[in-house]
Symmetry: D2
Subunit: 324 residues, 4 copies
Amino acid sequence: MSNIKNIAVLTSGGDAPGMNAGIRAVVRTGIYHGLNMFGIRRGYDGMVQGEIFPMDAKSVANIIQRGGTVLKTARSEEFRSPEGRQKAYEHLKKLNIDALVVIGGDGTFTGASAFLDQFDIPIIGMPGTIDNDLSGTDFTIGYDTAINTVVDAVDKIRDTAESHDRLFVVEVMGRDSGLIALRSGISTGAEAVLIPELEVDYDAIMKRLDKTRKNKSSRIVIVAEGDKEGGMVVADKIQANFPSYDVRLSILGHIQRGGRPTCMDRVLASRLGVASVEGLLEGRKGEMVGLIGGQVQFTPFGKAIKHIDKVNTNLTRIVEILSL
Amino acid sequence: MSNIKNIAVLTSGGDAPGMNAGIRAVVRTGIYHGLNMFGIRRGYDGMVQGEIFPMDAKSVANIIQRGGTVLKTARSEEFRSPEGRQKAYEHLKKLNIDALVVIGGDGTFTGASAFLDQFDIPIIGMPGTIDNDLSGTDFTIGYDTAINTVVDAVDKIRDTAESHDRLFVVEVMGRDSGLIALRSGISTGAEAVLIPELEVDYDAIMKRLDKTRKNKSSRIVIVAEGDKEGGMVVADKIQANFPSYDVRLSILGHIQRGGRPTCMDRVLASRLGVASVEGLLEGRKGEMVGLIGGQVQFTPFGKAIKHIDKVNTNLTRIVEILSL
Amino acid sequence: MSNIKNIAVLTSGGDAPGMNAGIRAVVRTGIYHGLNMFGIRRGYDGMVQGEIFPMDAKSVANIIQRGGTVLKTARSEEFRSPEGRQKAYEHLKKLNIDALVVIGGDGTFTGASAFLDQFDIPIIGMPGTIDNDLSGTDFTIGYDTAINTVVDAVDKIRDTAESHDRLFVVEVMGRDSGLIALRSGISTGAEAVLIPELEVDYDAIMKRLDKTRKNKSSRIVIVAEGDKEGGMVVADKIQANFPSYDVRLSILGHIQRGGRPTCMDRVLASRLGVASVEGLLEGRKGEMVGLIGGQVQFTPFGKAIKHIDKVNTNLTRIVEILSL
Amino acid sequence: MSNIKNIAVLTSGGDAPGMNAGIRAVVRTGIYHGLNMFGIRRGYDGMVQGEIFPMDAKSVANIIQRGGTVLKTARSEEFRSPEGRQKAYEHLKKLNIDALVVIGGDGTFTGASAFLDQFDIPIIGMPGTIDNDLSGTDFTIGYDTAINTVVDAVDKIRDTAESHDRLFVVEVMGRDSGLIALRSGISTGAEAVLIPELEVDYDAIMKRLDKTRKNKSSRIVIVAEGDKEGGMVVADKIQANFPSYDVRLSILGHIQRGGRPTCMDRVLASRLGVASVEGLLEGRKGEMVGLIGGQVQFTPFGKAIKHIDKVNTNLTRIVEILSL
């Protein structure tokens, strides 16, 4: 049915836990269907430079539990130009590669779209980013691990906050999206969560902190890095408003990207890896594969990367109710 | 609108991580809506014995991250009889308790149905069980933590299996349901997964183990405890079929129940806790609250406890493809 | 033999994992020997304010596994003056408290010395600080947990460093001591470790980084916060020297203080808690109890707080050898 | 000074976390001193079969954090005979291997002694076993990780025990040694610990359990697998003595061997790896390298494997005092 014989897989953009589980699933599904499978190192840059090599079932053994990506990832200026993409295409041609699976975020799919427009080679995308900021899937690969890492970290900080009667402002990842902040805020019993999607109502926050003054010996305020002001400004404002508080700031930083993937991320990456190869064999292209309500769904790249506001106002309301 | 003024919450059945997050959410949501909140110790047994006490916002502070249930749980023979339930009802009356939230599994909801039939007191159920064997919710509270505990354990066992070129049969929880086995099997790259819902095809399993003989230096077979034969028989059969293998059995046991809940279980329990109280205030009763496709849904007790076969044949197929 | 009947325990200075295990051991050992036990909240400040309460065996149940300190900790300006200490002493007198166990670091023992000089009340100190910067014990309570937290975090960062071919400068705690940096550096295969006790030889570091350029795709440099220049300056210097590197900075911050204590910290705190009470009963005072080579030892406060240079040059040499 | 030019390293006996850190340290220290380094797969069996290969600095990259052993381990019947050892020796000769580092336990060192007697080839041993049952080192590589794994597991079981008011008998590893049981018992607040080195005084245990009946809602009894009766018998006896208790048994099994090594095990393995190679260069042989009181020490194989009773009666006393 399908003419596809040789598929290559790459990871691009920021690394996310579960990417390795995704690579493994893509490679093994291809082999299961009798295809030849290839890996491309360092994303589009490696494609431009021709860092492409065959992968067999064994080459993805014992990686499902590892963070990061064994294929590595990088930015590529060259791939943004038609000439760069032409070089990449020639490397693929030389190895008779018919189709691609690309794992990454919106930048990855934008690149894939440009490549597809230029050469009409089938490409399926898999959502691999800790930010969960794509349409067409309930969760992206890496998101569940990242929020659990944040929750572990904030649980530790809460120990210190409780011991010293302190308020901690914790800045978490999420440049355009408050989804890491929101779920980790609910999970750690944060008193307030500030996210880029919503205007901050400082009056309301200060009132809530004041109201809970008697009940609480520790307080946690979670701020997404993409928030207009950022953790440091928020910490200063709270300190200025409540001079008697002992306010501290903690910026979690890069620990949020790494680590062994959770069960959910491994299952998600495995399911999407199978579906992406089988999608290509069914003739699909230019689409991102995702899970919506537990079912595999395909969404055109152009729609997947549109930052539809996923902020669940139920979640923001829950922060407010439970921070009593 | 609602006449409900006093709500009590209890946990029943096997403990599950996230139950504390659920209790916290129920208590704080009630207080948020101006209600008086009560806790019942040790499930229906405590209700029969009158172990009921008021709870305020502070009484659920600092429990969201803790495994088990601060309200404790127990079996109750007495509650199965109308006389036992009568005693329980009188304890509620004395404290003017108008409504209940019960957190547990199918036994919990069966008990709740009987009580509701007898006294027409509004009850909402929350799905709290590691087995994920209820209809009306994609995931039960505790399931995500339990599968991550299994995955952590099997990752450790894989280290030893790799070092010694061994095959490990790992028995995991799931008396009637293979959902823990299936997802943890995919997540740990298990070579085979045996579950109660499916007839075991030993020929196929032996063939698959044989086929992968060359590629693999370690092998993991996951068996749900509810499987017809159980881990020990499976281990013996594999050993008999492959005398040269070094086959070992590991029964994970009770570690699967405890531990700090994952982010997903905390968020799930928090959302359902809010929804259960607000459901009561809207006049609901005799229903379990769940999340389906990310949305809050209510399902009558009778339907929730029906063991509809949730086995996703996609998942069993994925085990086969990826164990190449 | 001993006239001691009533002992109070407090925690002071920065919180450290294992303090709760220490409190538990002190309280239960006192009860075991027939004494009345008291807790003092918020360190010396609580002593000055009279926040003292009786503790029984149950009051320390289920805390051995928890980070932070259930007795809380705080700074106290007032306790630095003879008048403040006089107030504290009167609160103790009122409750007939004969002796104290204080858990903390050098500030804690300095305060204890002043109190002991003024009122001749027996005090034994327990080393509770993540920094391991005291004489008279091989390890302080909290140190082992803190270095494991650092190692977990750097393992995660290494995933990202490997995926992106990056160099990460990671700043860890240790204002006056490089012991957290040194052991976590060895444990994470760091290419270099910068500590306050040693002059930084940038030439040597740059040479080592350059030499390993071919072998390595990721590099980690650990910097103790007490290092003369700090993580940011170090990162800038490396970037300036190797413009082609992708250098990032991560400051781990407060997550290093919290978390469930490791086995080693729980055993250490338990052993020292027993020994501190039994030391008091044997007539000891003004000493810190520690473990040296696995044996309980007592060291006068004045000697314990002297920052003897504990830097094991074997360890710095090991970093160099193993970062090949 | 030394004539040694080529060193091979192997792991033998049960795998232990930190073995990889030890292999890495041996290989890199050899390279640092200008030697050629080799790995032997699957312990003495691989040596007999000639599974020997060169190792460079890169071949041990990114393994310090991984459980198990990348060199694998196995039993060898053949190596027990002079003829088998002769075969092994000839494989070494062919590659001009002058000296060996063997990582394992008492069986490993017994084999090394026989080999050394037969061929006078320098061998240094490193203590790699989770049991901590060797003389000549305070701790063996893997012990600290194993006890932390046990503590994590028992903390989880305690959640369930607390929720259900149960008594759990937990069987942990330690065929001849109660050291895992003892330290994990102290760390988890176990009510009793049964170890092979001490006669069990059931009367005393039953009295202690009875005495604590009022204070406690959960109870944990830790039994070393080498205990005369084992977990199941102990559980039955307690159940018979206290029919009202809800007694459960949990056998932790193989999860105790694997997992990412703790900081302590990584540092220990790194230090001993450096010392073993440098010991060989100084002319040492037939000795195990260990850390005693933080200092590197060498102990003849014959003495290291003598099961001197390491049971610290201080520790058994601490269990009793703190289980009040």
